[in-house]
């Protein structure tokens, strides 16, 4: 294999991370606020109370600003696939193409069509048609997210496909396996719920600002109540799907789980670290995987339960996964690398046989890629064949650990926050709780932070894989001049920062104007 230009790989990864995270600033608010708007409009249609129409229209304007500025920022990611990640784009074949095409045709058009009615249809269509449009916008937004998350889940857990050695592409053979893989289901529900929580916090925070200003009190109280109930239900869903995700990660990406928990050596009945500070012990293997703790507070045996549904189950650590653990049936990284190299070698021999016109060998080797034993024993480790040092199989442990724990901590804080909001709204004491109003404002950036941390855990924790066990990130990248990637990286920094500033400025101005009487 040619020497890998890690500067190119790192800049390409940095560029993708930058664009994905900027894109994700806009998406979660859209996912959640559309449901809050639909709920408010439903109450308006049922009660005929103009105050609810006023609230609906106010939040609709903020949604419109967010949607207009955020729309199409995700397309940049598709550009990057074709330019910077050509080996990957080709290798994934129609697995990625099909869900994205469905997203474009079905969800995007559903969402866009009904957005037009939602914004321009007041007094032009009946109340019920308008309400139906608002609900369809909300459903369409979440459906848009479904397909891209299915594609992402496939990268974390590749299922339902067969590799075609002739074209070097994976071909989808079981669409439903791809769509309903447990990883996809959990990822979809967990991610959209995080959007619902973020939007709920946004609505509560902005409403709290009105309470601090002592204006639009009824509007603010009602908005807080709707958002707090929606946020509370979504928080419960996040916890449930987070638990499901942990089990999937333990099964499919045990290295990611070990990094998330800073678990170096596995054992039975492993506790879940509630709070901890990582250290670097003296026994240094020369990589980031060898971490221990200066201090930690654990929930006894909880990680074993989360990962395997049993309090005394064995959870492998980084050392077990690298060195292997025959007692536990874990094969070593070295063995996986050998099997991966063998699979790559078969592919190489197949290519050579085709080039020299040796069709007998070519057909014989082609058949191996549909042979279950070869697939399960060798091809499933294909990506390990690119790895020359087991240390490369360990993700960044501190980043995974702190991102995961901060995200979980914030998640539980948000649950408490929603309970408090519901309690004060029920008691009718929201206006008096100045500290809560200020806390609500401060919680808005924390919601954005938590959702970003979620992506960092998911994507950094699975390194070095772009497709789990099949393709490492460094073999997916296009061999370009890294200077070109640096130029576009900084261009994106400028463009997306300008968009973000525009979003904040326009939204702030609109919030200061506030809801208009009669909802007009």
């Amino acid at each position: 294999m040619d020497a890998i230009d890690f500067s190119l790989v790192n800049w390409s990864r940095g560029q993708f991370a930058l664009t994905a995270l900027y894109h994700w600033i806009f998406v979660p608010l859209t996912l959640g606020i559309t449901f809050i708007i639909a709920i408010m409009e439903t109450i308006y249609v049922r009660t005929g109370d103009e105050e609810w129409k006023k609230a609906t229209k106010f939040w609709m304007i903020l949604f419109g600003i967010n949607f207009a500025i955020g729309v199409a920022t995700g397309l940049i990611l598709e550009f990057e696939f074709g330019t910077n990640w050509s080996n990957y784009s080709w290798f994934v074949g129609d697995i990625f193409g099909a869900p994205l095409a469905i997203e474009g045709i079905m969800a995007f058009f559903l969402e866009s069509t009904f957005i037009a009615i939602m914004f321009f249809g007041w007094n032009k269509v009946s109340k019920k048609v308008h309400l139906a449009s608002s609900w369809l916008v909300a459903i369409g937004a979440s459906l848009s997210a479904l397909w891209i998350l299915v594609a992402n889940a496939w990268m974390q857990s590749p299922v339902g496909m067969q590799f075609n050695p002739d074209t070097a592409r994976n071909e989808m053979v079981k669409f439903w396996d791809v769509l309903f893989s447990p990883v996809a289901v959990n990822k979809f529900l967990h991610t959209i719920s995080s959007g619902y929580v973020l939007a709920s916090i946004f609505v509560i925070g902005v409403s709290a600002w009105f309470l601090l200003q002592k204006r639009n009190i009824l509007f603010a109280r009602r908005s807080i109540l709707v958002a707090a109930i929606f946020g509370f239900v979504s928080s419960i869903q996040i916890i449930a799907t987070g638990d499901g995700s942990a089990r999937q990660v333990a099964k499919i990406q045990p290295m990611k789980l070990a990094a998330m928990e800073g678990l170096y050596k596995g054992y039975e009945g492993v506790g879940l670290v509630a709070i901890g500070v990582l250290s670097q012990p003296e026994e240094n293997r020369g990589n980031e995987g060898n971490k221990d703790f200066y201090f930690r507070i654990e929930i006894p045996k909880f990680l074993s339960y989360m990962a395997n549904g049993s309090w005394n189950a064995f959870v492998p650590g980084i050392k077990d996964l690298i060195d292997g653990n025959s007692e536990r049936g874990i094969i070593s990284a070295a063995e996986k690398m050998e099997r991966g190299k063998y699979a790559r070698n078969v592919l190489s021999e197949l290519k050579k046989a085709k080039e020299r016109g040796d069709m007998e060998t070519y057909e014989d080797l082609t058949l191996r890629f549909s042979d279950e034993t070869f697939i399960n024993e060798y091809f499933r480790y294909f990506g390990y064949g690119f790895v020359d040092d087991p240390a490369r199989l360990i993700p960044n442990v501190p980043l995974s650990f702190y991102s995961f724990h901060l995200m979980v901590g914030l998640g539980f804080y948000f649950l408490l926050f929603f309970i408090l909001a519901i309690f004060y709204a029920y008691k009718g004491s929201l206006e008096r709780r100045k500290w809560f109003q200020r806390l609500a404002l401060l919680t808005i950036p924390l919601a954005y932070l938590a959702t970003m941390l979620g992506w960092i855990v998911a994507e950094m924790g699975r390194q070095p894989w772009v497709i789990q066990d099949l393709m490492p990130t460094f073999s997916a990248v296009t061999r370009l001049d890294s200077t070109t990637v640096q130029i576009t990286f900084w261009l994106f920094v400028i463009i997306f920062t300008a968009l973000l500033i525009a979003e904040v400025k326009i939204m702030t101005k609109q919030i200061k104007i506030g809801p208009k009487e009669g909802g007009n």
Partner: protein, 51 residues
């Protein structure tokens, strides 16, 4: 300028930058521009995966 007009302006400027400047100048599809047929693309990626 009303908020609606401002947003339409941002959308059009953004789409112009994304599709005309970024896509055409900085983000050509590597395999599509470098090779004419799928067979050539497959051969190139196979070469990348096996060398």
């Amino acid at each position: 300028m009303t908020v609606g007009r401002k947003l339409w302006l941002i959308i059009f400027i953004k789409l112009f930058i994304f599709f005309i400047i970024m896509k055409l100048i900085f983000f050509p599809d590597f395999l599509k521009t470098k090779f004419n047929t799928d067979q050539e693309r497959s051969d190139y990626v196979l070469e990348q995966l096996t060398k």
